[in-house]
């Protein structure tokens, strides 16, 4: 409620000021749409980003949560917004999965990737495979051996079908040629709960989310989907080291609707570039355990393309398996 009042106040005040300064972007407050509820990764990454961008844009950046349908509602809202730079999206890696899943079911896509232009990548974190400590396995080889021995009887929990915990597991199953039972839940928290209770055998978890449980000995780390070893888990090998060429990062990046003028995107890109180097932003991100991985638009576009291609391939595999 409070946020909204502020927005109204700001809009009111700026409507008057805007008349004089129409040429220079931004002449009024900017909205950052977070397609997930407050408290999720997109939200906790979005808030410090919005705060730091305010400092350099010299305008308010208001966060609006538009949760729903695994992010599709908020993503579509930005994709179809007026391309003037006043509406931005704090999207997660799932942004590329949703249109693919739409294709799979032959339904009208809520939005397409061409409708979004990248501004900057803010953070990226690899997933880590964790098992229940009662399981007699410590390495990825042992996990695969166990899965093959109990053909198709081991299970994993996920945050939901095609979600951030499901996709990396499908990559793993495909690369290692094993079969696991998939138990989708309603979020990252419930997925870990299922594993802690010993109802499923394993799950893919974000480094921050699993950290307290790993420290307390309630979960055992096996392997990570990173390109390199994670700084907080130096003892956990990567899939690449183990001979499987799979990587999966859950990332958060900033987007604007396609067709936003370059003069405008430049202002936003500059604000993010200065922002991510700001110590204030760095300390906020350290607090929420989220590593900054900054990439400006051209690099981010390449990164995004590669990631989207990889994910699209996985969605197709899952689709075939499901039928």
């Amino acid at each position: 409620m409070k946020l909204k009042h502020i927005t109204f106040a700001v809009f009111g005040a700026l409507a008057a000021a805007g008349v004089h300064a129409q040429d220079a972007f931004p002449s009024r407050g900017v909205t950052m749409i977070v397609p997930f509820p407050p408290g999720g990764v997109a939200d906790t990454t979005g808030r410090p980003t919005a705060a730091i961008m305010e400092k350099y844009l010299k305008q308010t950046v208001t966060i609006t949560n538009r949760p729903g349908a695994g992010g599709a509602v908020g993503n579509a809202a930005v994709a179809n917004a007026k391309p003037d730079g006043y509406t931005m999206l704090m999207g997660l890696s799932s942004v590329s999965v949703i249109p693919e899943a739409d294709k799979l079911f032959n339904r009208k896509p809520a939005y397409t990737l061409e409708q979004l232009d990248p501004i900057a990548l803010i953070s990226a974190d690899p997933m880590i495979l964790v098992v229940h400590p009662s399981l007699p396995v410590k390495t990825v080889k042992e996990v695969i051996a166990l899965a093959k021995k109990n053909d198709g009887e081991l299970s994993f929990s996920s945050s939901g079908v095609y979600g951030a915990l499901h996709m990396p597991m499908e990559m793993f199953m495909h690369a290692a040629k094993i079969k696991l039972r998939h138990v989708p839940t309603t979020g990252g928290g419930p997925a870990i709960t299922q594993l802690l209770g010993g109802h499923v055998t394993m799950t893919a978890g974000g480094p921050a989310a699993i950290s307290p449980h790993v420290k307390a000995g309630k979960l055992r780390t096996i392997v990570s989907w990173g390109d390199d070893r994670h700084p907080n888990y130096p003892d956990v090998p990567t899939f690449k080291e183990s001979g499987y060429d799979i990587t999966y990062y859950i990332w958060a990046g900033l987007f604007v609707p396609h067709g936003t003028p370059e003069s405008v995107t430049k202002v936003l890109r500059d604000a993010v570039r200065k922002g991510v180097a700001d110590p204030e932003f760095k300390s906020q991100m350290t607090k929420i355990n989220s590593p900054i991985k900054y990439m400006d638009a051209p690099d981010f576009q390449k990164y995004w393309d590669a990631d989207a291609k990889r994910l699209a391939a996985v969605v197709k595999i899952v689709g075939k398996v499901g039928k």
């Binding site: 408290g39 599709a72 420290k215 307390a216």
Partner: protein
């Protein structure tokens, strides 16, 4: 025991710091106001306030949010009782008998008993949380999908005791609710069902917008359709205080509701929503005069209100003892402390004793604050009924739309509410009870999820339900309950149903 006492003293030394006390108080007030906004419940309340806590220290943040959470639970019962508008799923049952009491001129006692019951239940919950958190949390983890399925099925059996009308109509309404729950993305395949291309329907139909429409909007429509304007109530002071008889009748339901609510609350997931439905069913089953239910039985307010508050506290057990966000509300609370660099986990109680015990102590304080805040306010709230309907109802309608919209900034939710208002109006004209629709809609998606999760775990074998002791026990109990409910149908003996007439408010 001594250790617990010392820890609790530490907690109170934290909770009584002026700054924290102030925030606890502020949280309770904000929460009460948020809860009174139609459509805005505890979850929406703390989600909206979460960003404001980022600048505070973690203890203050969690105390403030807990205050809002409790406050909203209290506030939600106020609008349910006075205006038949549930702030959230858990107060749907309160709408039925609470509002009936208001129409009988007993709004004051209903509000007072709701406040006292909530206070008692909240306190029982905190004591349980304090003494048993680690033990209970480990047990609660054993509730996997099969156990959940069994629990939810037991919840469905409660339907038999939920409505006073014909069994056929009750079941029809429950099926309508279950069918509404089918809308949305299929959890196993990602396929979108019955969404008609509307992206927002991917998450299904929200219980809050449906409940506000079915109960609140339909009431406004029905009143508008009356030939003569209903009398505006002029409550006197004597009518505000519950009678001795009302206190006597409420004692049992409050106690049973508190225990039941706490037990259901600790189970990870959103099962706490069903606690108020189950409590209502139990009270009706145990009552010597079940026909009074639906027409303003105080037990129908006391039980469910206590149950939902105890469940709210119970939900903190897995969050604090294990550091896992098991429901949307606790997920937001965990985010509030994570943003300060504390990662809640199994070691939280040891690593952050001040946070844990400060939180526990502040819950005692918060409950007391709410009781003190709410009992004198009963008079003020009841006097809202003096406002002529011509002025009050348009305002309520506007607040309903605002409240439902602001939960997730979605205009679709507003449409759902309005359509459900129309549906509710028609159904009530035909003497259908609406509570089973709400229960069906709440249970449907949860039951489907846990059933399919169980079958995914077992690879399609139904045997999984028989292999697990907790699930087995609950299925046994559920079967027994079902047989008891069927008995009058089979033996054609006259039970209370035959004595009960439907609410004749529609005439």
């Amino acid at each position: 025991m001594v250790e617990t006492f010392n820890d609790l003293m530490l907690g109170f030394s934290v909770a009584f710091q002026p700054q924290i006390l102030m925030y606890a108080f502020g949280g309770c007030i904000i929460g009460t106001l948020v809860g009174m906004m139609p459509g805005l419940g505890p979850l929406a309340g703390i989600s909206l306030l979460l960003p404001a806590t980022f600048g505070l220290n973690p203890i203050v943040a969690i105390v403030l949010l807990a205050g809002v959470y409790y406050g909203a639970m209290y506030g939600g019962s106020t609008t349910s009782i006075l205006m038949r508008i549930p702030g959230e799923a858990a107060s749907v049952m309160t709408c039925v008998d609470g509002y009936a009491m208001t129409q009988n001129g007993r709004a004051g006692p209903a509000l007072a008993i709701a406040a006292i019951g909530s206070f008692f239940a909240g306190t029982v919950g905190v004591i349980g949380l304090m003494l048993l958190a680690p033990t209970l949390a480990t047990f609660a983890l054993r509730f996997g999908p099969p156990e959940y399925t069994a629990l939810l099925l037991m919840g469905l059996f409660v339907l038999a005791y939920m409505s006073g009308g014909s069994m056929l109509k009750t079941l029809a309404m429950a099926i309508f609710g279950l069918l509404l729950g089918m809308i949305g993305i299929d959890i196993m395949s990602g396929y979108t069902r019955f969404s008609f291309g509307i992206v927002e329907l991917g998450d299904g139909v929200g219980i809050v917008s449906v409940a506000v429409g079915l109960f609140g909007i339909s009431e406004i429509l029905l009143t508008a359709g009356n030939q003569d304007t209903p009398q505006v109530q002029k409550p006197t002071l004597r009518e505000l205080i519950p009678s001795k008889e009302e206190f006597r009748l409420s004692a049992g339901p409050i106690m049973r509701g508190s225990l039941l609510g706490f037990m259901i609350g600790i189970i990870p997931g959103s099962a706490h929503i069903i606690s108020s439905f189950v409590s209502y069913g139990i009270e009706r089953r145990m009552s010597k005069h079940p026909e009074r239910f639906g027409n303003g039985a105080i037990e129908g307010v006391a039980g469910p209100e206590s149950a939902n508050n105890a469940a709210a506290t119970g939900a903190f057990v897995p969050m604090l003892a294990l550091g896992i966000p098991t429901s949307p509300v606790t997920a937001v609370m965990i985010a509030a402390i994570m943003i300060h660099g504390i990662s809640p986990g199994p070691m939280l109680i040891q690593e952050q004793p001040e946070l844990f015990w400060g939180f526990v102590a502040s819950m005692y304080v918060g409950n007391l604050v709410l009781l003190i805040l709410n009992l004198p306010m009963v008079g003020l709230f009841v006097n809202l009924l003096r406002i002529p309907y011509a002025y009050m109802y348009p305002c309520i309608l506007a607040f309903c739309i605002l409240g439902v919209y602001s939960v997730s900034n979605s205009i679709i939710d507003v449409w759902i509410m309005l359509v459900m208002g129309g549906v509710g109006y028609v159904l009530r004209k035909f003497h259908y009870d609406l509570a089973p629709v709400a229960l069906g809609l709440v249970l449907g998606p949860m039951l489907e999820l846990s059933l399919r999760q169980s079958l995914a775990l077992s690879g399609g074998e139904y045997g999984i339900f028989l292999e697990r002791p907790i699930a087995m026990t609950m299925f046994g109990l559920g079967g027994l309950l079902l047989l008891l409910a069927l008995k009058p149908l089979i033996f054609k003996s006259k039970d209370w149903r035959s004595k009960v007439g439907l609410e004749d408010e529609a005439d």
